[in-house]
Symmetry: C2
Subunit: 90 residues, 2 copies
DNA sequence: GTCCCTTACGTCAGTCGTAAAAATG
DNA sequence: CATTTTTACGACTGACGTAAGGGAC
């Protein structure tokens, strides 16, 4: 599980579309599809229901979204704190 | 940045040794060294001071340790919550 | 036909282990 | 010399893009 997968997951959850997320992330749809499948595999749960009108979070997906948002927020705080620090190398 | 790196980082921070962490994680010392170097590179900060008597967290390393522990805790909560869910596939 | 997601496949970066090197006590 | 970390190198896994496939409107 890596943070790129988590960012892609949150992006898809927001725009409710793999293809739109792909454009926003400057990736291809297959890359998005692969990332989501990989995340679903490691978490052992289906995160999205795929329909012709769009993709939507399952119950498990909503749970995951809640925690993953928190993790990404903490990651940003970490980066912010390190940027203020001495050992930071631009 | 992936979660294996974060777990290795926390392990090294606890045992203050790459070699001991390697044994505990069932990896080799070079693998630990590489993971830490990679994490230091992505965070843009030196996390450990390497001495002959052991490795110790730098100031930036202590900051990172604080946030990374929180991220790993949330990851565990996520796994716990998903395990209670319907869509969970063993 | 059009749009969207998935599968298949070749390519390239990242990670591991083994082996050798460098540094410290 | 013993211990620990780092570097070098070959092998493997994982992620990407291109191209083709399948389903819904």
């Amino acid at each position: 599980m890596n943070f790129n997968q988590l960012k892609v997951f949150c992006l898809v959850a927001e725009v409710k579309s793999f293809s739109k997320a792909a454009k926003l992330a400057h990736l291809t749809q297959p890359a998005i599809s692969s990332q989501i499948q990989s995340l679903e595999s490691t978490l052992g749960a289906t995160l999205f229901t795929r329909t012709s009108t769009g993709v939507y979070l399952t119950d498990a997906g909503q749970v995951a979204h809640h925690y993953i948002k928190k993790m990404l927020l903490i990651q940003e705080e970490l980066n912010d704190q390190l940027r203020l620090h001495d050992q930071y190398l631009p």
